[in-house]
């Protein structure tokens, strides 16, 4: 299992692995929105939580189709499915690798982008907390979507259509945490709900993903 994680990380970091694409996308989002909306601090500060969360979500989405597609094309997925490792574990590790290469960098870089969008100072901590809690769910849900579309020719676009509705609860609670944090309101409820969704997704969705992979390999 560790070997699989190490391999996936190594592949992501080597040339052509696509590491950093999501991060770059996130950055571009945060630059384009002020250019489109205008430089007024009040407006930007108001929409910053939503923009940052939608940006994180789209950045995650961008790299989802790579999770299984490459392994499917070169036959590794067949071999992994016949290897003495549970497929549920394989999909969990894949999701973890996706989070480490996409979600975690987003969490770390988000305060800088918050700066660009005039995020109120008291909201930074909640921005980081909410992304840290929410992005694992984005990776796990995305892995499920990637598993659903693994053998399909037009997988990429379909993947977005399938995954984005599933992202709604995470987005709502995540952005709500930051928005409340910015207004200095109580945030415990949305934080708990966000954590609950992540915990549930991490615990249960790998079974669905593994089931779907088995169906797709049949």
């Amino acid at each position: 299992m560790i070997a699989l994680l190490v391999r996936d990380l190594r592949l992501a970091f080597r040339a052509g692995g696509g590491f950093g694409l999501g991060l770059a996308f996130f950055l571009i989002m945060a630059v384009l929105v002020p250019l489109g909306v205008g430089p007024e601090p009040d407006i930007l500060a108001r929409i910053a939580p939503g923009i940052l969360w939608v940006g994180a979500l789209l950045a995650c989405l961008l790299s989802l189709d790579r999770i299984f597609a490459l392994d499917f094309e070169d036959g590794s997925l067949d071999l992994l499915a016949t290897a003495p490792v549970p497929l549920e574990g394989v999909v969990s590790i894949k999701a973890l690798a996706h989070w480490l290469t996409t979600g975690l960098p987003l969490v770390l870089v988000s305060p800088v982008l918050g700066l660009l969008l005039y995020l109120p100072p008291q909201a930074y901590i909640w921005l980081v907390v909410s992304l840290a809690l929410g992005t694992p769910a984005l990776s796990v849900i995305g892995t499920f979507g990637a598993a659903l579309t693994v053998g399909l020719k037009r997988g990429g676009l379909l993947l977005s259509l399938l995954v984005l509705p599933l992202y709604i609860p995470t987005l709502v609670f995540g952005a709500e945490v930051v928005a409340r944090g910015a207004q200095g309101l109580e945030v415990a409820t949305p934080v708990a709900l966000l954590a609950g969704i992540t915990a549930g997704a991490v615990a249960l969705l790998p079974f669905a993903s593994a089931l779907v992979i088995r169906i797709n390999l049949r």
Partner: protein, 223 residues
């Protein structure tokens, strides 16, 4: 060393276990391809599957490897005993030869890729990225993967594609050594591997016919 591992794998309660397939039927995309397939392999034996293109060799091997369910029949073999090698080698092009092999060794929980590197003549290429290998070299790396799995039953789908004659001989030697160590091999191939002791099973007579697919088949009511 690897031979001992194999033997320990095999001899359970003083009995040598092998692969046994009885009355197997398999389908691809809902279309029945083969039925009534039966054979058995014991330690040290190999079987070559033959048949025209599209007759279901790959489907049969995938079914035996556990990637798809059998429509009927039984496949019995010891747990965790099959190593499957498909058309695609499952190589990561940006990883080196040694890294590719080490990964599979770690997945299968075996130690040492040295033996496999030597036997498939990959030692000089160990540090090279897989994307810089020729087709034949890639294939050899894919077959070396089998050796690091430490599993007794090799299920091979067209293993000699893109190998030159020298490499085919090399591969035959590896299979022979595997058999001598108590291993087994099920190989779908068109060419003569130069393994005279190996049995051959022609799949043509097992082609699924319409009459017999009637009862019990999923699509019964649609067909």
């Amino acid at each position: 060393m690897q031979d001992e591992v194999l033997l320990r794998h095999f001899v359970t309660k003083g009995r040598i276990l092998g692969l046994s397939v009885t009355n197997l039927a398999c389908a691809r995309g809902g279309i029945p391809l083969l039925e009534g397939v039966g054979f058995s392999l014991e330690a040290g034996q190999a079987l070559v599957l033959r048949g025209p293109n599209g007759c279901g060799k790959t489907t049969l091997l995938r079914t035996i490897a556990g990637l798809q369910p059998a429509q009927a029949g039984d496949i019995t073999c010891p747990a965790d005993s099959i190593a499957y090698a498909a058309h695609a080698d499952g190589l990561k092009t940006t990883l080196s030869v040694a890294e590719n092999l080490s990964f599979w060794a770690a997945i299968y929980g075996t130690k040492g890729i040295e033996d496999a590197l030597d036997k498939m003549n990959l030692r000089p290429l160990a540090g090279r990225a897989a994307q810089n290998l020729s087709a034949g070299q890639k294939r050899r790396l894919g077959l070396a993967r089998l050796m690091v799995t430490g599993r007794p039953i090799w299920v091979l789908d067209e293993p000699t594609v893109s190998l030159d004659t020298v490499s085919v001989a090399l591969f035959a030697d590896v299979v022979r050594a595997h058999l001598a160590g108590g291993g087994m091999a099920l190989i779908a191939t068109h060419i003569d591997l130069g393994l005279p002791e190996v049995g051959v099973l022609d799949l043509t007579p097992f082609k699924a016919s319409l009459d017999s697919t009637g009862s019990g088949h999923f699509d019964e009511a649609f067909l």
